[in-house]
């Protein structure tokens, strides 16, 4: 690669400035503000605030509501991660069989990646629409009156399905490129050494895919935790009622619906710590990611 030497030492920093500015204004500043306000009890009408130390944190983690939401978030994350990884892997393995040799499909499939996530998210939610949702109609034929937004479990299922629906294409592309990266002759050597395709998958293909898998696992946990806010919001239409919510959504509800800024800030600080830990794990994994050649 060609190396360009900047005339002035200042120019690189100047070029970085807009990006740093965005990070500062939209991330660092609010984050610092959240940390600060997590130690205060804010007057809901903005007439002042009182320093309360760790009270907000203690209140948060000891409240039964928080425990319930945390449990649901755990279950939700587990199902979203397991299902979107599992389904994507299955599809990728099937696609890989077809794709070996036929590279024209590959470009076609890349469109899934380019188009799908935002659109698919919307479609996923539409699937559960009370009036036009095909999934609601489908299960109705089996006598299940699905009441998304009313029944706790039905809403939970809709959330999981919509979240999985949106994440599968992303995982699929990663798994597919991981599979395509496995040497053809290694697969062939395995087909001479092992008759059973199933066993071959678990003893050769899957271990070689493990680095991709670990990486996706972290990405998916992060996704289920944080990026599903939009999906949940569209399904609940900001009227949670008795419906399940995740921790991130609860931050929003408590802060902006419940006007409990201090408690909400404390929750978001806890979540920030969680992201921080996940990020560290992810970097560690990427660092240690084995590169087979």
């Amino acid at each position: 690669m060609k190396k360009v030497q900047f005339q002035s030492r200042l120019i690189p920093y100047l070029l970085l400035l807009p990006q740093l500015g965005i990070v500062g204004v939209f991330f660092l500043w609010p984050a610092a503000e959240a940390v600060r306000s997590s130690f205060y009890l804010e007057d809901p009408f903005g007439f002042g605030s009182t320093f309360v130390g760790f009270d907000n944190f203690i209140d948060t983690v000891t409240s039964t509501d928080y425990g319930r939401v945390a449990r649901f978030t755990g279950v939700f994350t587990f199902f979203v991660t397991a299902l979107s990884l599992g389904i994507a892997l299955l599809l990728a393995v099937k696609a890989d069989k077809v794709l070996r040799g036929a590279s024209s499909y590959k470009t076609l499939l890349m469109w899934v990646y380019a188009v799908a996530p935002p659109v698919a998210g919307l479609i996923g939610i539409l699937l559960f629409d009370q009036h036009v949702g095909p999934i609601v109609d489908l299960v109705a034929m089996f006598g299940w009156e699905m009441q998304v937004g009313v029944s706790y479990s039905d809403t939970a299922i809709a959330m999981v399905v919509a979240a999985v629906w949106k994440q599968v294409p992303v995982n699929f592309i990663f798994f597919l490129s991981g599979l395509q990266g496995i040497s053809k002759s290694v697969q062939e050597a395995a087909s001479i050494d092992c008759r059973s395709g199933f066993r071959r998958f678990w003893t050769v293909t899957f271990p070689l895919l493990a680095p991709t898998g670990f990486f996706l696992l972290i990405i998916n946990i992060t996704y289920a935790f944080f990026d599903t806010f939009g999906i949940i919001d569209v399904i609940l239409k900001t009227e949670p009622g008795n419906n399940p919510v995740t921790l991130v959504y609860k931050v929003y509800l408590d802060g902006f619906r419940g006007n409990d800024l201090g408690g909400s800030s404390a929750q978001s600080v806890i979540l920030m710590a969680l992201v921080f830990i996940l990020t560290i794990i992810q970097f560690r994994l990427i660092e240690r990611r084995v590169h087979y050649t």
Partner: protein, 361 residues
């Protein structure tokens, strides 16, 4: 151990690429067969059809008495060594060797015995716990060989197994493969584009060209009597010189001037004359005595000493046709110098100028 029979085997890839065009070979038990030919001639395709990695379009392949067209690669009782070794990157050397045996539900003690034995033969015993990425190219090559040996299969299939090694290792491994194969007596099919590798390893050579067999035979027979100009120019290094010859009622004459005598026994108007670089000698003056040898007069362009011998790259003044001649080591010839060459009748080959087919005299 087993025979392998190919009966008019064809392979047509998607898009009407006919890679193999009706090939028949009978491979004897314990024989070392080398498929040799330029890149793209269909060698790998043929080998992969024997392995079961490619479907056979038409024709039949048998291993032993069993037609294997529809048999799964794992059930064909063959082991294959790949060009890039194709070791399992996530498994230790031990497990690379043991994997095929474990999947055949072999007894643990027997697996261990075979792996240790192969490791001893190939001198890879010290690396059994290592992953392939911690091995050098030569060591990986040995592991790939070991993976084939432990299986004790009916046949070994090799697809250019040495072409990723450096020159010195290549020679070393070549000798070792030959020794191993003779020791084990396992029927082997070996694919290479390197004619020297082919010559040195093969019991019988199969020279392929564009999906067809040009010639099958023992290396020395192929060298002595190439069936076509293609084989003549492919087997032997430097390649055989091919010169244009005219024929008429008066006899034969080189397009590049004088020096060919003899009657036009085959009644054609054009031939290709073949003489190997090592079959000419520099003489004081052309004999021109009407016997059936060949006398040539060339101009020296370059003298290339390779140590044990030297090569003259020259051309004919009349036509510019080029020629390579082997001369003794330490010879001194000057560029531009004119030389007289002589080839004896037994070393002169005739080919049909149109079809390239050998004409027996």
């Amino acid at each position: 151990m087993s025979t392998i029979t190919l009966d008019t085997v064809r392979k047509v890839y998607a898009g009407d690429v006919e890679a193999v065009k009706g090939v028949s070979i009978d491979i004897a038990d314990g024989e070392f067969i080398v498929l040799v030919g330029p890149s793209g001639c269909g060698k790998s395709t043929l080998l992969r059809m024997i392995a079961g990695l490619e479907d056979i379009t038409t024709g039949e392949i048998s291993i032993g008495d069993r037609v294997v067209n529809k048999v799964d690669p794992a059930d064909r009782d063959i082991a294959m060594v790949f060009q890039n070794y194709a070791l399992y990157p996530h498994m230790s050397v031990y497990n690379n060797l043991a994997y095929g045996l474990k999947n055949r539900n072999m007894d643990k003690a027997e697996i261990d015995r075979r792996v240790k034995e192969a490791a001893r033969i190939l001198e890879i015993g010290d690396y059994l716990d290592r992953k392939p990425r911690a091995l050098s190219g030569g060591q990986r090559q040995r592991v790939a060989m070991g993976r084939a040996i432990v299986r004790e299969p009916a046949a070994f299939l090799f697809d250019e197994p040495l072409s990723n090694l450096d020159a010195k290792l290549r020679v070393q491994m070549r000798v070792e493969i030959k020794r191993l194969q003779k020791g084990l007596g396992t029927t082997s099919v070996y694919v290479t584009h390197d004619q020297l590798e082919a010559m040195t390893l093969a019991d019988r050579l199969v020279v392929l060209n564009g999906g067809n067999i040009e010639q099958i035979g023992a290396p020395i027979d192929v060298y002595d009597k190439p069936a076509s100009t293609f084989v003549a120019s492919f087997i032997g290094s430097p390649a055989m010189n091919l010169l244009k010859v005219k024929g008429d009622e008066n006899g034969l004459s080189l397009v590049s001037g004088k020096g060919l005598s003899g009657a036009n026994a085959f009644g054609k108007s054009a031939y290709t004359l073949g003489i190997r670089p090592e079959h000419m000698s520099v003489v004081e003056a052309p004999k021109g005595d009407g016997n059936s040898g060949v006398d040539l007069e060339i101009k020296v362009n370059v003298l290339e000493p390779v140590g044990a011998e030297s090569y003259i790259y020259g051309e004919f003044a009349e036509s510019g046709e080029e020629i390579v001649v082997r001369v003794e080591s330490h010879s001194t010839y000057e560029p531009g110098q004119t030389l007289f060459l002589r080839a004896e009748p037994k070393d002169v080959h005739f080919f049909d100028a149109e079809t390239g087919a050998r004409i027996e005299s």
